[in-house]
Symmetry: C2
Subunit: 839 residues, 2 copies
Amino acid sequence: MPIPDYGNRARCLVRLMRLGMPVPDAVALSVAAVRAIAAGQMPDVASILAVFGADPVVSVRSSPENPAWGGPGTVLNIGLNEKVCARLAEHLGEDAAAEIYARFVQSYSVHVARLDAEEFAACFQPGIPAAESRDLALRTYELEMEEPFPQDPAVQLGHVLRSMARAWEGTTARLLRQAKGAPADAALGLIVQRMALGLGPGECGAGVMQLVSSATGAPQITGRYQSQAQGREALDGENGVAYLTRDARGPSLQDICPAAFADLEAYAREARRGLRDEVQIEFTIEGGEARILDAAAVQRSARAAVRIAVDLAEDGIIPREEALARIEPRALTEMLHPQIDPRTQRDVFAHGIAASPGAATGRIVFNSNAAQASAAQDEPCILVRFETSTEDVRGMHAASGVLTERGGVTSHAAVIARGIGVPCVVGASDLNLNPREKTLTARDGRVFREGDLITLDGSSGEVLAGAVPTVEAALDDAFVSLMEWADAVRDIGVRANADTPADAQLARSFNAEGIGLCRTEHMFFEEDRLTVMREMIFADTPEDRRAALEVLLPMQRDDFAALFETMQGQPVCIRLFDPPLHEFLPSGREAMLDLAEALDLPVSRVVSRIEALQEFNPMLGMRGVRLGITVPEIYEMQARAIFEATIEASRNGDPVVPEIMIPLVSARREVELVKTRVDAIAAAVRTEKGADFNYTLGVMVETPRAALRAGDIATTSDFLSFGTNDLTQMTYGLSRDDAGRFMSTYVSLGVYPEDPFHTLDPDGVGELLLIAAERGRDARPDLTLSICGEHGGSPESIAFCRRAGFDYVSCSPFRVPVARLAAAQLALTDRVEDRKIAE
Amino acid sequence: MPIPDYGNRARCLVRLMRLGMPVPDAVALSVAAVRAIAAGQMPDVASILAVFGADPVVSVRSSPENPAWGGPGTVLNIGLNEKVCARLAEHLGEDAAAEIYARFVQSYSVHVARLDAEEFAACFQPGIPAAESRDLALRTYELEMEEPFPQDPAVQLGHVLRSMARAWEGTTARLLRQAKGAPADAALGLIVQRMALGLGPGECGAGVMQLVSSATGAPQITGRYQSQAQGREALDGENGVAYLTRDARGPSLQDICPAAFADLEAYAREARRGLRDEVQIEFTIEGGEARILDAAAVQRSARAAVRIAVDLAEDGIIPREEALARIEPRALTEMLHPQIDPRTQRDVFAHGIAASPGAATGRIVFNSNAAQASAAQDEPCILVRFETSTEDVRGMHAASGVLTERGGVTSHAAVIARGIGVPCVVGASDLNLNPREKTLTARDGRVFREGDLITLDGSSGEVLAGAVPTVEAALDDAFVSLMEWADAVRDIGVRANADTPADAQLARSFNAEGIGLCRTEHMFFEEDRLTVMREMIFADTPEDRRAALEVLLPMQRDDFAALFETMQGQPVCIRLFDPPLHEFLPSGREAMLDLAEALDLPVSRVVSRIEALQEFNPMLGMRGVRLGITVPEIYEMQARAIFEATIEASRNGDPVVPEIMIPLVSARREVELVKTRVDAIAAAVRTEKGADFNYTLGVMVETPRAALRAGDIATTSDFLSFGTNDLTQMTYGLSRDDAGRFMSTYVSLGVYPEDPFHTLDPDGVGELLLIAAERGRDARPDLTLSICGEHGGSPESIAFCRRAGFDYVSCSPFRVPVARLAAAQLALTDRVEDRKIAE
C-alpha cells in the first residue's frame, strides 16, 4: 500500500508538532482525498469536525506537493454561526464578534460561494456598525443564493473543501502552476486546523517571524506583528503593524509581549534546526501565548541563499553537500557582476527600477538584431526597448545590459535579465524612447543615439551617460566557503576564457584554474597595431610580411608576458591567429583613402586588395590554420612571442608551460605543418636565449571533420578543445550572425527545442563531441579534452563534458563560479547514484 | 621459387612464337638479370650470343612490365664489325654494307658510349660516300674514346646491355615513368633478338600493320612499309614509305609483295586472337618472307577503345565482362560532348591544335580563380592561358573549355583537358593574349575581352566568336552495346541531375534512370519570372506573397509538366526552393532604381529591404527549408505546381510519382512541418481536380547534423539524398567559393590528398554518409538512399555508394555513361572477388 501523500505544508506541520511546538490541532486530507473531492466524492466532514470538539472554528489551508506551485488561498473562521458568535461575544464583545462573523460571511460568499465581491464590499462601508455589516452580509448572501447563510459548520466546511479542491483543478490555476514547472497532475493536500483566533482579551494577534535577512541571509530577526488580527494577510496593511524586535520607529512585539517574543524566537530556531532550513514562521498569540500555524522557507535573494546554506552547514544542520545542492548555479551570476565605483561622479540622466543587479556599460542599440550583431563583434551594448518580449531574449543574451521604458520588477525584461545575470533597469519612464528615429531623450533634453555609450546601475536603477569606472563584485565569506566546498567535490576542471590581463585578473578572482582560451586577434585591433597589421596584409613578399610582423612581435610578447604573470604559473591556452585578414581592412571609401595615404599606396591598389580579400562566406573561408599555413609568417611571429614571453615570465615566477592551440583544423596534416614550424621556432628561441621551456600544442575542434578525424589528429596533438560555437554553426549549417532572422520562429515552432547557440545540442553537436573524445583518447590516452565555446559554463554542457570524460570546461570569467558549483552538484549527484547502485 | 619475370614484350614474343609466327630467335633477360646488370654484375654475354651461332647480328629491345612506362630505345645491328661487314658486302654490295656499319657505329657511339651526337651527324653530310662515312665514324669513335671501335660482338652486346639497364635506373627516366603511374621499383626485362636485316636482295624492308583505325576502332588495315629499311624508326620519314593496302596515292606492300602482305594480314589476325587485343605488329621482310618482330596494343582514342573492346567481345575473343573492364570510364566523356552544328555559319577568329574533342561555348576568363568563380555561378566560361600548369587544373575543371596560345597535343593543357573531357584548343599562336589588360587580339584585329562569349571546337581546333548551335554527340553502336552490357551487370541505379526539359532530354539520351536532382530555383531567374519573384519578396503579408506566387504557379506547373513528359514515367526528384531570397535582388544602385520603379516603391524601401536581406554567411543563412518554414507560401505554391503537373502528365502517359526533396534540413521537425503542408496541398489538389496521384517526400542531406540525425529524420522521410557539395563545405568548414585562394597550396602541401570538392573525402564526409545510411536504414528498412552532389558520377564515389548500400547515384547528364560503366566495373570486380573467396 502506498504511503498516503498529504502535501508539503502538512508534512511541515507534522514536523513542527513532533518538535513539540504549540501547533493547534489539525486534520490533513490526503492528495487522494482532495482528488476525490474535486471529482464529487465528499469525505465524512462531520467526523473531521468531531476532532475539534463542540462548536469548532477551523481554517483550511492548501498543502501542495511543492510550495512554489501556489494553491487556493486559506479560508479562516469556518464554523462561525449565530450560536458560536453569541458565545464569542462573551469574550470579545458584541462588536468584535459581529465583525469577525461579517468578515467570514464575506469571505465565504466570495471565495466559496463565488458571489460578486463588489456586493459584499458595500457591506463594509466606513461608518457602518459591525452588527449592521454582519446583517447586510447575511442578507446579501441570502438574496444571491436564495437560501440563508449555512449555520451548520459541516456544511460550511464541505463547501470550503470542495471549492478549494476544484479551484486547484481549474484551467487557469493549472496553467499558472505549469508555468512554474509543475507537472500536469500536480498534487494538493488540504489541512483543516483549529483556528487560533488572534482576537480577544489579553495580548492576541498574528504575525510572521524569520531569523535572517531575505536580502543578505545575515542573522536578523525580521517579521511583523499585529494585535487583534488573524492570518498572514492582516500584515499587509500599514496601520497598527508592529516590528518584532525593539525598534525606535515604532512599537514592537518584544515590547508588547516579551515572553511570547522569546518563545517565538526559540520556536523559530527550533524550526530552523528541525526543518533544516531558514523558515518564516506564521504565528498567532492568544492571551499572550504563542501558537505556531505554519512554517515556510524564507524568500531569499541569490546572495541570501548562499549565506543561508553555508550557515546551515556550518551550524551542523545540513551537510556541506546539501548546502551545495541547494544553490541554483545560474543564480550565482547575480552576485558576481561588478558595481559602479562608489567614488565615481555619476552623470545620471534617468531613473528606473533596479531589476537585475550589477553595472553595465555599452553602446545603445534599439533592437535584438543590433544587439546580436554587436555581440558578434565583441562590442558591449545596452539593449533599449519599450518593454521586452520573447523575441528579445536572444538580444538580451547578447547585450551587456537591458534598459526598458516600461515594466516593473516582475516584467519580462526583469525576470529574464535576472535569470541570465544581465544588469537591467526597467520602467525608466522619465525617458522618451523613439525607436524609429533611434533616439532616447532624457527629461533634461539630452538626446542619446544608437552607438552612444551609457552605463546602467542595475542595483540602484540609475542610468548614466558614458562609461564609468566599476569595482568588482564583493564576494562574501559565505560565497568563498561555498566555492571551496564545491571545489572539494568537483571532478572536472574549470578555466576561464580571457583575452587580456584584465580578463585574466577577473578569472583569477573567480578562482579559474587557468585560461582555457586566449584569443589573440583582439590584440591586433588596437590602434597602433592595426596600421602595422595592414602593412603586413599589403606586403608583397614573405620578407616584407616578416618586417611588418617584426614590429608586432614585441607587443605580442608583452601581451603574453602580462598574461602569464597574471596567471602565476597556471596554464594558459593561447589560440593562434584566427580571423580572416579582411576584418583588419576598412570598408568605407574615405577610410580606404586614409589607408592608401598611410601606406603610401595608390588608392586603386588598396581597393583591389580589399576586393580580392572579400569572401562569400567568411566563416568558411581563409582564416584560422588556413591562414597559418598559407601565410606562415603570422604564426611564426606568434610562436616566437609566446616563447619569449614564456622565458620572461618563468624568470620571475613559476615556470610557465604555454599551451598553443590551432584554430579551424580539418585535417591532421594541418597540425603537422604548424607543429613543424612552431617546434623550429621553439628550438631557435631556446638557442638564442639560452633558456629552456616546455609547451604543448593542440587543436581547437571547430569543424565536424576535425571531430570525426579526432583519432588521427590526436596523434600529433597534446590536447583537443572544442569550440562549440563554430562547431554548432557548421553542424547545423547555420551562421549565428544570420540565424537571428528565424531562430525565434524555429524555437516557437519546436523545430529546435532550444536555440543551439545557448544550449548545447546534445544530439548533433554533442554526438560529435562524444565521437571525438572517444577516438582522441583511443589514439592517445593522455590526451587533454576540454570545451571552450560559449556553452562552456552552462550546467548542461558541464554535465555533458563530465560524462564524456573531459578534463576541463572553459567559460567567461563571470560564469566560472556557476561552472564550479554546477560541476560540484553533478559530482554529488553521481555519488548518490553510485551509492544507490552499491546498495 | 618465384617464376622469373621477363617483362611484357618478352611475354608477348613468347606468345607470338607459340602461335607459330616467324619470330626471329631471341633470348630474354629477366628483370632480376637486368637489375644485376645495372648494379654491375654482367651476365655471360658470350653464351647469350652463342644461341645465335657464328658472327651473330642482334638487336636489344626493352621489355618493361607495363608498355605504357616506356623504356630505353631499341639498339639494332649489334655484332657488326669489319669481318661481318665484309661478308654482308657480298649480299648487299659494298655501299650498303658500309652504310649499315657506319649507322651502327653512330648509334652505338651516341646511345651506348654516350658520345656527342653532333660529332657523328657530321660524318653523314650529304654527298659523302658510305665508306667515307663509316671511316669517319670509326675515327671519331677512336678519337673520343681513345680506343678502337670494339670488334668483339660480346663486348658490344655487354656495353649495350649495361647502358640500357642503367638508363632505366636513371633519375630522369624514373621521374618520367612515375609521372605515368609506374611504381618506384618498376621492372624492366631486355630481349636480345636475331636481326632480321630488312636489307638485301629480293624484297626486303620493315613495316608496321594494324587492322583497325586508331581514331575510330573500325576495321581498316593501317600501317606503313619501307623497302630496304630497318626498325620502326625508319618509318617516321616521308620518303619511300609505302602504304600497306593498295592505294591510289602511292605504292603499297600489297602491290610490291602480295604474298608477304597476305601472310602479314593473317599473322595480324592471328595475333589479335592470340593476344586478345587489337595489336600493331612490327615486321621485317627478308627476301619476300615476312618476319614478326613485335606486337603491341594499338594506340586508340576513347571512341576506338570502345569499338575495339566491343568487337573483340562480339568476335568471341574476350568475354563481355572483359570488354567492360577495359574501358576507363572517365575516357567516355570525350565521346559525349556535343559538336558544332555542321550547318552553322562559323565566325572563326583563330586556329589552333584540336587537343580535346567537343564544342564549348562560354565567357572568356583569364585565370583559374575567375573560372572557378564563374562555375560557382553556373556561368559557363572558357579559360584562356598562355599555357597551363598544375595550378590551373582546378580552373580547367571549372571551365567549359580551355584555350591556350602555346603548346602542342601533349602539352599540359591538352593532356589534362582530354583526361577530364573538357574541349580544348592549344597552340592558337595567331592569337595575341594580354593577361594584364585581359584582352585577346585576333590576327584580324578584333579584340575579345573578359566576359565575351566565344566557342571552341576541340575537334577541329577552331576558335569562334560568340555562341553557336551545337548538335549532340553521335553515340555509335559499339557505345550503345557497351552501355547495354554495363547495365546488365550494374547493381546501383544511375540518374541525372537535370533542371530543364533540355537537360532531361540529354539525360534520357544517356539512358539515365530518372532525375535525381531537379533544382527549381533556376526557374525563377528567367526575366519574366524574376519581377514576380521580387514582388513576392517585397510583399508585406502572406496574402500579398500568395498573390505574387499565384502568378508563378502556372509557369512552375508547366516547367514540371514538361519535365515529367520528357522523362516518360521515370522518377523525377524535385528539390524545393533552396537559395536565399537576396539572390533575386539587384545589387547596383541603378538596378535598385529600376526595381523601385517596377514595383512602384520608394527607392529607400528597396534599398532597406535589400540591406535587411544581406547575410554574413549566405551559405549558412536563411535558405532551404528555413525559408520554407518561415515563408511557407513558396513551398505551398511549388507543391501545388508539382501535383497539378503530375495529374496533367499522368493523363497523357505513364502515371508520374514525383519525389519531393527538402533542402538544408538539420532537424526532423523541419521535415514534419513541411510534410504537413505538402500533404494538405496534395489533399486539396486531389479534391479540386478529382484525380488521384502518389508522391514521396524526402530530405537532401547537406548538413552534418542531418547525417548524424538520419535515424530520426528517416522516420518521416521516404528517401535521403546526399548533397555532398554542401555537406563537404560544412564538414570541412570550407566554402567552395572561397577555397580557391588556398586549395592548390593545400593539395600541393598534401594537407588534403585531393580537393574534396572533386574527390569525395572518404574519411570525413564519407563517414557521415555511412553513419547516415546505417541509421536511416535501421529506422526505415525501405528508405531510398542516393547521392546527388557533384561527386555523384565519379567512379570513387560510386564505389563508396555501392559499399554503403545506396540505391542510386545522380550526376550531370554527361557523366551518366561514365557512372554506368564505372558501376558495372565495380560490380564485376566484386563478382571476381566473391569467386576468389568462394574458391
